[in-house]
Each structure stands twice: as structure tokens, then as C-alpha cells.
Symmetry: C2
Amino acid sequence: MRRFVADKTRNLISRISRRTTSTSSISRLVSSHHPTSATLHRPSSSSSSSSFLTANFNFMASNYSTAPLSLQTINPKVLKCEYAVRGEIVTLAQKLEQELKENPDSHPFDEIIYCNIGNPQSLGQQPISFFREVLALCDHPAILDRSETQGLFSADAIERAFQILDQIPGRATGAYSHSQGIKGLRDTIAAGIQDRDGFPADPNDIFLTDGASPAVHMMMQLLIRSEEDGILCPIPQYPLYSASIALHGGTLVPYYLDEATGWGLEISELKNQLETAKSKGICVRALVVINPGNPTGQVLAEDNQRKIVEFCKTEGLVLLADEVYQENIYVPDKQFHSFKKVSRSMGFGEKDISLVSFQSVSKGYYGECGKRGGYMEATGFSPEIREQIYKVASVNLCSNISGQILASLVMNPPKVGDESYESYTAEKDGILSSLARRAKTLEDALNSLEGVTCNRTEGAMYLFPSIKLPQKAIKAAEAAKTAPDAFYARRLLDATGVVVVPGSGFGQVPGTWHFRCTILPQEDKIPAIVSRLTEFHKKFMDEFRD
Amino acid sequence: MRRFVADKTRNLISRISRRTTSTSSISRLVSSHHPTSATLHRPSSSSSSSSFLTANFNFMASNYSTAPLSLQTINPKVLKCEYAVRGEIVTLAQKLEQELKENPDSHPFDEIIYCNIGNPQSLGQQPISFFREVLALCDHPAILDRSETQGLFSADAIERAFQILDQIPGRATGAYSHSQGIKGLRDTIAAGIQDRDGFPADPNDIFLTDGASPAVHMMMQLLIRSEEDGILCPIPQYPLYSASIALHGGTLVPYYLDEATGWGLEISELKNQLETAKSKGICVRALVVINPGNPTGQVLAEDNQRKIVEFCKTEGLVLLADEVYQENIYVPDKQFHSFKKVSRSMGFGEKDISLVSFQSVSKGYYGECGKRGGYMEATGFSPEIREQIYKVASVNLCSNISGQILASLVMNPPKVGDESYESYTAEKDGILSSLARRAKTLEDALNSLEGVTCNRTEGAMYLFPSIKLPQKAIKAAEAAKTAPDAFYARRLLDATGVVVVPGSGFGQVPGTWHFRCTILPQEDKIPAIVSRLTEFHKKFMDEFRD
């Protein structure tokens, strides 16, 4: 359904373009590497089941003919925005899930396995007990002094709850906080950053947000004045960036990660794309780097990061560092280094580089997506600019306090000697080592498939294999008016119940096809996924072999 | 400091206006009633203590001269945006609070009393126990089956937590939910709306959000294409609206509430302003109504609401109904009626009017601001448009689950026969009756002051008295380069520690002066506030009497 709307609206956008001046606000995308491609490939239509929806849709729409809002009259930036991670394939999966509930024999599988989104707890990952104990106590401080509480909660969770409540004016966890977040919690986070990096962090640079997404939007809002403003983004990218740039009316300037070198980030590519954008009149304002990579799973080498910092400094770009997977590293030869640490270790201080680091409670070993906690550390901005960021934050008053508390906990977990330390460490290590095993198993399985190559998942939560599809499959996709990778993902879902996101939602070198699959299904499900996927792929290739 | 930045940036905006094309995105404000006024009066500068900050600021700014971002190069819509509720006076109050902490004798009062913002729990209001019990249990479900839990939590809270967890796929309160919110919770909310209104509500129309503010932003994003699009807003208004319209680059079309008739909303005024805006080429897209009123405290009569609905239907406007104070009614002759109920009772169905109702867990008797829960019920939109709203919601994944749970609780509190019913009712009635008494006491006190008239607070959480300031005071304000009401509020803070927001932050008829003061300080503090305020006002008037 969404795909259909996207298609329909795309036509509308072009019609509106010819008619009105508002087209100037539609975000664009420039690229030198593949000058004729639209980069984020968009299939021109959908499959047969959508046709039914289409008919249904037109019927329903006609009843709203006098409504003040129509696709022709809403903000075209909203129409332009797309977010594949929750796109058509997910809507379809939800439909199949409903059908399975009503009739368990309706499909050749007994459950839908959502590998489309980094949502660990939806697939059975358990939260870290210590974190949840503290949250519960902060939610209902009335029980803190009760004797039964000693039996239910660990001593250090009770102590931590007291500490946190003491940091909150009036112990009021139900009050709006400072718009950057509770000062005491920001102190804790700054101390955590300092421990991580070995360089000072200032609590006044921390802005606590409801997950990392609102922080990204805030920065885009600050940076983008018009479609003449460009943001350098990796391709493939996490579609939050393309969506946010579209919503704010800017231009996505893509730089391609090199799949052949394990999704390498080449400075020459950055320079090339920057120059091309400039030559088209685009004022490039910032560089987005996602490290560890989403959807690509690569972890940048420190030397590479130094060159990126140097590039931003030389070109006067704000460095937007998506570091939400900083705890998710699975290979012994790679380590996470924050861009702040790298910059400071190069001798670049507060006045030398404008740098924003995004962190979230949704990822790592904690995976607390539903809590919507996160922060950005914004360094290298003048007080006037920080004041403007504060103002934008203040319009939404503050982020949710439970999320704020959780953000402080992930940056200051139990320490050696604390009552919870042992259980905390066991839970954390259990999750991370299991994720590493799952990544390896899935990677090996994918690499064993005909025409599939998959770089290793060094970090983050995803595999992004390349699939060489037979011409016959590409033609079948064309006939079904869908992108070849979307066609493959759709067939995979229909045959196995496994939900992946087509590479076209993230961007890819034109003519190549990928999908993103999370490593998050619980370990006992991995063998079944591997065998289902292997069987499906074999049949698919047999069916479409040229 | 913020005021200084605002002034400085205003100059910058006008300079940028002359230089670049980006001025077209700056939001404007049109008015027929007071055609020459800027309506949201903005003082041209600040007082002496700000001068110090200014100097300090310039010094600091100079060190960032090579930074990629400056006030000249950020998005001018961000510069344009203002949010008085957390503006200069609050920054100053925080400074005084710090000074008091360091030296309790530094000021002629021993504490700062924040009457600037509707933040009940920051002033000592206690949360509803039942709600917090359920939240704590949902945060840490591991204790649900433990025997100690029976002693700590009420039986219906335990039962409710089980019910809610059963509605969450996999009981995963740490997972991203459906982007509109957990379906089971939306069912509960829809049932609550239906009970309230006596008309059906559809869970698919509910979008759960982190407080009401993100919902307002979402609608503005959808509605505003350019500065040619206008939104009718009451004056005085809650500055979220002016801020959001500015951020999205639209035009605020003001309509004036009539102070003489208890902040009456006249349809003739709506028509007049609509026509004026149209004649200036503005496409007016929506009407914002805040009921009960913020900052004005009036509660609309049902008959008036019918005329407003009729007006929106006739003029093809989306009705944006801010109904976050629906539980805050303090006078026996007024009742809350939702605009949905009013529309349906007029026979207008889904296809006849586009209506959005905003609700929040931050207000009412619950006052859970820090939990960031809320929802909008969007009715009368075609499936295509709802799909676009869903897409925008999905880019931020979902609102926080604790806030979602709380939104379901406030729409479905304990019922007769439940273990917690009695304590819940006692807590609720205690809070609401106390708020009513506080409102009346403060209203009477204000009305007893020379030159002050204050409409009664029928609902919401605010008083918005008019102050007739002596010419000498107005001249003193001019000399101090500040607005007369900001001058008064500043003097009030310096003398008493009471923080109020100058009327200029909300908009007012030019030449009139007001301030907004919440009714939220705890009841035992009210007599002291009244006497301090009375004493201050008398001295102020004596000092500046013409």
C-alpha cells in the first residue's frame, strides 16, 4: 500500500513541479559516480496484491473528495520522504502474520521472523536486569523504603535509584526536566564518555533526546536552509538520513562505500562527490558517517577516521557521527573509536572541528528501543549556535525521563564490586557473544549461496549481502513492476516468513542488488532460518536461471 | 542571553533577507485587526544584566570564527522561532537559584517559585499512585510473579500490568512498537474516548506521541508547504504554535480572543482574519483552537464550539483542537466537550470534517510531564493522507512505551470496585479541588491589585491578568530596552523570586500588557505568593505612578 502511495505521489510531485513554485523545496540527490542514476532506486510500481489495494484505495479516496487535505495539497517534502525499514514489505508481513493467526496452515511457515529492523527485544532478547530494576524504582519511588523491596531488587539498584532521584530536582521523575536533560544525568554521561575516550567531555555539550532520531532531525533542521544545502551521506545509508533530509528540504549528496574493500570509505570518493556537488551549486554543509556501519556492518579503522576528520576540517564540514552501534563489535581485529577521541588525539580541540556524536539506548547489548533514550554530544559549536540548538530542543520541552535515566545507565553500568556486576556482565557478554556467533553463521550461510557475497559483519546488527540475480529474475521483477531486490525479498517472505529490507531502500551502486537482514533472531532460530533461506534461494535460482 | 540572541538574530534575518532568496522561507504573521502591529510583540533588547552576557558572548563567539556554522548560515527558520515559556526570564531565574544555593542571603527571598510553566510535579504535585505502580511493574515484569510484590503493589495494578503486557507483542516493553503505538493500548484509548464522548472512536485514528508537541509538529509539517500557507491561531496563544509554524516556514494568521467577554472566541473575528489573510495571498489551511485555553484559562461553550465546527467545514479548514486540559475544569457552570463529540452531535461524520484532537499525559490531574506521553486522534482524513501521517511517524519509529502505557491509563483509570478506586479518586479529587481553590485565591488576589484585571480561570492551569502599567513604567522599560510586561516580570522576579512569563511571549492586543502565571504552586505556598505579589505590585506602582 505504501509503495503504491509512493508511486502515485511521485507522479503527483512531478505534476505539482510543473505547476507551482513549491518544487524548489523538493530535496534532490546529486552524484558524480553514477551521474545518471537516482541512486536510491525506486521501483516504479508494485505487485499484484497491491493492485487490489490500489482499487480499494481509489474507492475509499473518492469519498473524501471535499476534505481540505489531499496528496496534491500537502507539503511535498512529506510526499518525497521515504522510510524503507518500515515500508511495503513490513506491511505485507503484518498481513501474513494476521492470516497465520486466523489460519495456521495458510502459509508454508508457522511464524513471521522480522529481520527488517534493529529491534532486539521484539525477537526475544531480554533487557539487562539491573537497568530495569533501576527504572522500576525510579518510576515508583514510594517503594524504595519498604522492606519487601530489599527482597525484590538488588542493593546496588536501590542505591542507584536513590542517587538518580537525588539528581532530579524535587525527585520529580514526572516533571519536565531541563531541555537538554537532567543535569546530574548529563554529568554521568559526560563522565562515561570521558572514561571511554580518555578526553574530557562537557555535560553542557550533551543533549538528551527520545532515541537518536530526534537529534538527527534537530541537526538537519539547523543545517538545511533550502535544496541548495547538501549533506554528504554514505550509500548504502540508514534511511533516517534520506528521510530527514527530504523532510527538511535539502539535498542528499551521496558518497559510495566500496563493497569490494569491505565497505571501505575512501577520501577520494568524498572529495569527488563534494566537488561535483559544488559544481552543481550545492553548498555542502555536513558529512554523515555511520560507524559501525548501518546497513553495512563495517567498523572504520582509526587511520581512516583521522583522514575523515582532516577532510571535514579542511572543507569546513560539520561531522555528524552516528555512533549508536559503539558497543556492537564482533571481530577481534576491530575496535570502536569515537570521532571525538580521534579528533582530540589529533590535537583538534573544541575550536577546530564541529562534531556531533549520536548515541542511543536502542542498540548495543541493551537494545532498549521502546524506551526512546539517547543523546547527542555536540562539540565545536559557538555559544550562539548551541543556544539555537537549545531553543529547538526547548520547543519540545524535554525527552522522556525514563529514557534519560537509561542513557545514564548505559554510560555508567555496574562496576566491579557492585552486587549486580556479575549478573550484569553475564547478561551483557551472553548477548554480545551470541550476536557475534549469529553474525558469523548467517554470513557463512549467505556466502555459500549461489551468486551471493556478503562482507563480514564487524559490528552493528546487520548483514548486507549482494545478490547477483539472473536476467530472467530481473525481467520477472520488471514485469511485476518492482525492483529486482524487492522482488527477491517479496518471494523470500512468501516462501519462508523471513522479512528483510531490499537494498533499494538504502541505496546501492546501480545495477547491483542487496538486502539488509538483521542478526537479531534468537540463536535457536538461526539454523531454521539458514535452512529455509538456503532452500528458498536454491529454488529461486533454479526457477530463474538464465 | 536568549533574548539577546533573539534580537541579534532578528537583525541578521533582515540582513539575510536583503541578501539571499532564503527569506521566502521566513514565516510571517498577518493580521487585520491590528494591521500595523507585529502582534507577538518582541522587545528590542534586554536589561543591564544581559549587557554583561552580551559582552561575554561576543568575546566567546570570536573564537569560533572558523567554525562551519554561524548565525548567518544556519536555517533562518530556526532563528525566527521563539519559545517564551523557557525564555530569558527562566534563564535568569536559574541564575538566581544558583546564587541562592551559594549564598542563601543573596536575595530578598529564599526560593525561586516557577510559575512560568505547566509542570505540576516540579512544584510538588504527587503522581497518581496507581499509574506509577503499573508503570513500575511494566518496567520490570520479572517481579510480577514474586510474593513480595503482592505486599508492595495493589492487586488491580498487578492485574493491569498483566493485561498491558499481554497486549504487547512478546511482552517486550523494550521493543519499538507499531509507529502509531501499541494496538491494544490504542484500543483502550479509543474505548476511553468513546466513553467520554458517546460517539465511536477508531484505534486506527490514534497516533501515540511523546507528549502532544510532536503531534502538533507532525500536523504542521503535513500542512505547511511555504510561507504562503497560513494557520489561524488564537492570540494570546501557547507559543508551541508560533514556534512550530516558524520552524516549518508557514505564516501565523492570528485571531484575537476577546478579553472583555472572558476571552471569547468570536466567529466574526475568525472570518475577518481569514478574509484579510486571503486578500494577502495566504492560503489558510487550518484553525488552532485551545480548549480549555492556554494561557487564557477559558472553557468554550458548546454552542460556540458548534459555530467553530461549522466555520471550519464551510471554509474547508482542518480543525486542530488542543484539548490537553480536558480534565482541568474548575467552575460548575462549564464543562469540557471535545470537538469530536460536538461535530458528531451536529451530524458531521468522518467524511464531513477533518479534525485532530491533541491529548497529553502532562496535564489533567496526572501532570506526568516528564513521561512524555500523549496522542492525537486524527479523523476525517483520507486513507492516503493517513498513510502520509503514518510515514512521518514511522521515521521516528515510535513514541516511548512508558508514555504509551500512561496514555492508556489516563484514558482508562480505575473503576468502581477496583482495589485502587478509592485511593485513586481521593488523589484525583484532592488535586483538582486544590487547583480550583488556588485558581480562585490567585484570581481574587490579582483582581484586588491596582490596575490589574484577571478573567477567571475556568480551566487549564493558568491566570493571564492584564496590567495597566503607568506611563512612567513604560518609559522605564523603553529605557531598559525591554517590553513593559517583561520589565514588570523581571522586577517581580528580582523582588519576590516568583517567575511568570510576560504576555508578549503569547501575543496580546498591542498596547495591552499581561503575564501568565500558573496556579501550580502547592496550596501552602499560595498565601506567601499572594502577599509577596501584593507587596511588590504596590511598591512598583508607587515607584512608577504617573
